[in-house]
Amino acid sequence: MGRIRLESLRKSYGQVEVLKDINLEIEEGELVVFVGPSGCGKSTLLRQISGLDRPTSGNIFINENDATNVSAADRGLAMVFQSYALYPHMTVRQNLAFGLQNAKMPKAEMDERISAAVEMLEIGPLLKRRPGQLSGGQRQRVAIGRAIVRDPTAFLLDEPLSNLDAELRVSMRAELSALHARLGATMIYVTHDQVEAMTLADRIVVLRAGKIEQVAPPITLFEKPVNKFVAGFIGAPNMNFLTLDDVQPVLGNVGVPAGATMTGIRPQHLSPAETGLDMTVTLVEALGTETVIHGVLGSGATILVTVPGHVKTSKGEHMTLNVDPAHLHFFDADELRVEAA
């Protein structure tokens, strides 16, 4: 069991409203990622769910029971902190056992749970060491282990990979994904890294300034962003936003939906062609597998293009770009998505 429901949740610190009317349902066994720029309230939202912080108004339901005023200890959730927050004066084993001792669990069951978690995370040789003697990746595993032994209703992970180096982050990401598949537990994962969000999530919650912008599976988010913010936030490099006049040459006979004032084109969807947009190249970034070309249009608008493989071009040269009209996104004056007719 691990259903979590948030109902018109609000949180203010004095005059500052950090969370504004959050409504969200998280299904059992789902891995939901909260993503957004810094200061968007994603960590605050996680803290409300964990019980470490109380919302100003609104309700939190865990398995359909109102948990709004239940203490953090009694919500049955486990949290993995960004800093890992391992107890520095205890050995790895004591770290794992601490929560179980507090729950007054019989020793036999405790040993069983610890050895199961230790085996799953392959941290057996570390049991007698203290956190100070572990590497970042090992600490991360222990922190996850401390959550697993508690057998929680849901896991809350607060930017768990942000303190690891890039290489380790990729492998831990894969492990977390495998772990989720194996445990089948509900997980809520907070990150500002959209790659983590895209690769791990069953559903992504995009937050901005304390409001949910869109909740959707990763691919839906990529293909049908509900507004300009989500469109710009998801996908790397960022989507190009151009006025209708700028893209006139490629619109062809595509019907511009009523109310649309702006189009969005992902850099990957632009390709060199005979006719189309005329761009002056300002910078070429060859990444090997793909080439990112920065340029300006005649109107002065900047544009990014990624082309697979290697492209021979250099600063000052002209390129003509075309786009499949199916990949055009339209936004109205309020920056909301407008579906093509």
Binding site: A72, A73, M79, S83, A85, Y87, P88, G99, N102
Partner: protein, 351 residues
């Protein structure tokens, strides 16, 4: 050898740079100012009462040379003197008795012949030696063991209570957010500005009405809440990340368990510093125990020492010797734990 190379190291290498001269002079001056009185105390504690009254005083303790001489058929210990009379070589004579300014002296080799000598013509024969009876007599007659136990009890119990109460206060002041937290802290720290002499009369009436006069608890309880300790521990606890406490809360730990199993072990270095301070403070306390304790069997060492100072005469030799004895535990604390003290003071940014 290493120590000597270290101590004689100079900035100028083989020659003397002017900063070397200033440094050595300044450090030497400091050494004398700080260490001189301690050396003098220890040396003086081995001097006899007569020598303590001498002027000019000497640094080293001396004892008079004596000799066994048969006087009227019985052997007697007599003090030896060097006698220098005009026209004769200096000789060593033993003094039998003194009458006014004339001393009756005998030659130890010829004890039958009494020689009369003017006291200005003789000087005592002395060698460097220790008057150990300064220590032996009070240790035997003075209730040293009892006073030592009282001191140990007061110091030990007061230190334990100090550590527990101060760390609880520091925990609340550093890790809980409540209205008026800073005001409370300010109030606690502000009490540092109130000297004990201002407090003593009200404190006495409180302790008296609680019936704690003439009880060691009356000495212990008023001293356990120290603003210095609360402040020192709070500053240290601020460096413990809040996420650890939150992790413990998620781990179903009660607030007491958080304090006892997370905060206290992590505050150990600061607790060690406070323990050292507290031991030194309580061991050296004099005024407050003197006020509270009036029954002799309850005296702490410091108050006990005071009994050597009578209304009419002060037994300096005993006071000095027992002062040295009572200093030993505190000196040992400093010798063995001084690196914690310096680390602690540096780490907490105190004083």
């Amino acid at each position: 050898m290493k120590a000597i190379t270290f101590l004689t190291r100079r900035r100028g290498g083989d020659t003397w740079h002017w900063t070397d001269v200033v440094t050595f002079a300044w450090l030497g001056f400091g050494l004398i100012i700080m260490f001189g009185p301690a050396i003098w105390l220890v040396m003086s504690s081995f001097k006899s009462p007569a020598q303590l009254a001498e002027f000019p005083p000497t640094i080293l303790p001396y004892v008079s040379e004596t000799v066994e001489v048969p006087v009227k058929g019985t052997m007697k210990e007599l003090p030896l003197y060097t006698v220098t009379t005009e026209g004769e070589a200096p000789r060593e004579l033993a003094e039998v008795r003194r009458v006014g300014i004339i001393a009756n002296m005998v030659d130890p080799a010829d004890p039958e012949t009494v020689i009369k000598v003017n006291i200005n013509d003789r000087t005592p024969v002395r060698r460097v030696g220790l008057a150990l009876e300064n220590y032996a007599k009070p240790l035997r007659d003075f209730n040293f063991g009892l006073y030592l136990w009282n001191s140990v009890f007061v110091t030990g119990v007061a230190t334990i209570i100090t550590l527990i109460t101060n760390s609880m206060a520091a925990f609340a002041l550093s890790k809980y957010d409540f209205r008026g937290r800073n005001a409370v802290l300010l109030l606690i720290v502000a009490t540092l500005m109130i000297p004990i002499s201002v407090n003593i009369v009200p404190l006495y009436s409180v302790v008296s009405s609680l019936g704690l006069l003439n009880s060691l608890w009356g000495v212990i309880l008023p001293t356990v809440a120290t603003p210095t300790g609360v402040f020192l521990l709070r500053q240290y606890m601020l460096t413990i990340p809040d996420e650890l406490l939150e992790a413990a809360r998620m781990d179903k730990a009660s607030e007491w368990q958080i304090y006892w199993r997370i905060i206290l072990p992590l505050t150990a270095p600061a607790l060690a510093v406070l323990a050292i301070f507290s031991v030194v403070w309580r061991w050296n306390d004099f005024l407050w125990p003197l006020i509270v304790l009036s029954r002799k069997e309850l005296f702490t060492l410091q108050v006990g020492l005071n009994t050597f100072a009578g209304e009419l005469n002060v037994q300096w030799h005993f006071i000095l010797a027992m002062t040295v004895a009572t200093m030993i535990p505190v000196v040992l604390v400093f010798v063995f734990l001084q690196r914690y003290i310096t680390a602690g003071i540096a780490g907490t940014g105190l004083k």
